[in-house]
Amino acid sequence: MRDVRLLDRPFDPGSLIGPFTGAHPGLGGVCSFVGEVRGENGGVETLELTHYEPLTLPGMEHLAEQACSRFALMGLLIAHRIGLMRVGEPIVCVSAAARHRRAAIDAVDFTMDHLKCAAWLWKRERRADGWRWVAPRPEDYAALARWRD
């Protein structure tokens, strides 16, 4: 089962991962990653993710298709927030179910690398001195490049 969601409100990853896991009887493993708004020294107060309706969700669905054809999965869950978020709130949840662990772990890694710098999302953060746009780091692009055939 593929379950891809763009969410405009706070969500509880456990409430998605539980039913997702339950929907795959006979699985050998589930790998889940949850990304949250990081509280750093000097502090991000608020994070905002904007999207472009005609492209963002279809692009995430295409990414899920790619992951499912590349790895031996039973199912893949992708949930990504848009809108305003505070420190500690979940931004993204990716969960993969498979017969064997390597496929599940690699599929989550692959999906996260693509969400970081190849999904139609734009991130900015507010600190004490105002808003600034966040670009992926060089290591994020390097991580994505690992998956090129």
Binding site: P54, W122, K123, P136
Partner: protein
Amino acid sequence: MSVRILFLGPLRDLAAGPEREVAGPLDWAGLLEAVGEPIADRLRDDRVHVACAGRVLADKTALSAKDGDEVALLPPVSGG
């Protein structure tokens, strides 16, 4: 009818607003002229994509937007 230009992400700040309506039809040269500098300069960057009517153009310089189309200017992304 007109063409609506949408400025996504950081381009929104440069454009001083999320969107602008211009008379159609609109091609690449017309787009650069309509948005003006410094956005036109950003659009020439290979990492900035253009979508027309909901589809990302493989070659943005081949833009051919009709009245009623939405043209989205898509700077480098960051999610996750």
